[in-house]
Symmetry: C2
Subunit: 217 residues, 2 copies
């Protein structure tokens, strides 16, 4: 059967920077790649990339949470040429982070093929890092597209949300607020600084372990 | 600053089949790559890969939904050497699909780096295909890890869930059932066959458009 002879190789990713002319799955909702009113574009614009396998110390001005002032402080956990990730300012649990592409992409179908692969790669790395940094082994990954799906900021982002074992009542509230309803707590900025540093260090550990081939299946 | 000179190239994916010795982010919950009791391993084992840019006709025995008998019928929408995707048998909405790696990987941190990139790549393609096939432009992507996060089948999977505009009461129920509580409807098998075919065709269209560079940013 012809299907049996289908080439099983994975498509190569571009080895250089993204070609901005890469094809799109979908007509773009907007043709701009940076939106002056978008808080996530603002975060992308003020934090330069760093090597995630060797992050700067938390005292570095490159990680200064106040760089996004007068907007809320930003506690960065990842900054690559293509992606940024940071603590959610209204976390559902300790360690709740967001991962998004640097350019302004309203929905998942607006990212380039190469960006989608890079998002997938770092979802795994950040999940492992959040588990290490929080000690919580269960978590949800959520990504909402459009108002009917409870998307609030129209710059696509994945949520990684640790799920500590909660007593029933808090668990009900947790589910109810997962899609934007109900009350969420504001980020404790004192706690956030140490937490973000633990996540950045854990990202570096995961990337180095991947590089070194530490675990085998 | 050193961070400014960080190499911005994307890491290459392996160009051949996955090396089973690829490093892991996390000690594996299980060392086996196929679990005889896992329904998703069963689906992976009975459906061979096909070229997603040129899927077989729905009359092909390769797509026979009854291949998974005596387990529930499976309506395949994607089958590559590394991934399978199919209609959820208890959909939250029309077009609710699941995407998972072929090998048995309990959580997102159990997939290989190459698999995680491939999952990211096809999340975008399948999202665009589900939008095309259902005409519903808003959707959620959800992936649950562990019992506290409402994971039911311990073989990691992404949900892609269209979110049609619903009246308030149904919308409340929708959110409540998103994480496994409450009632979900069983898949209508008559409807499912045509729907799965529309999604497979839409996947092929998206991949061909990507290949041809149809849209520019």
């Amino acid at each position: 059967m012809a299907t049996r002879t289908y080439d099983s190789s994975l498509p190569p990713l571009p080895s250089t920077d993204f070609d901005p002319g890469l094809p799109r799955a979908h007509p773009p909702s907007t043709s701009q790649t940076s939106d002056p009113d978008c808080p996530f574009c603002h975060i992308s614009s003020v934090f330069p990339p760093y090597n995630p396998a060797s992050p700067p110390p938390s005292t570095s001005p490159l990680l200064n949470p106040a760089l996004t002032a007068p907007q809320p402080s930003t506690f960065l956990v990842l900054s690559t040429p293509h992606l940024v990730a940071f603590l959610d300012i209204m976390p559902l649990s300790l360690g709740h982070i967001l991962l998004c592409p640097r350019p302004h992409r309203p929905k998942l179908t607006d990212v380039t093929p190469a960006e989608s692969a890079e998002l997938g790669r770092y979802l795994r790395v950040l999940s492992a890092a959040v588990v290490k940094a929080t000690g919580v082994g269960d978590w949800n990954v959520v990504q909402n597209n459009g108002a009917a799906a409870a998307q609030v900021v129209p710059h696509m982002h994945f949520h990684v949300i640790p799920r500590p074992e909660l007593r029933d009542q808090r668990s009900e509230r947790f589910t109810a607020t997962m899609f934007g309803r109900g009350q969420r707590d504001e980020l404790d900025e004192g706690e956030a600084e140490g937490l973000a540093e633990r996540v950045r260090r854990a990202v570096a550990e995961v990337l180095r372990a991947d590089e070194e081939g530490g675990w085998k299946l």
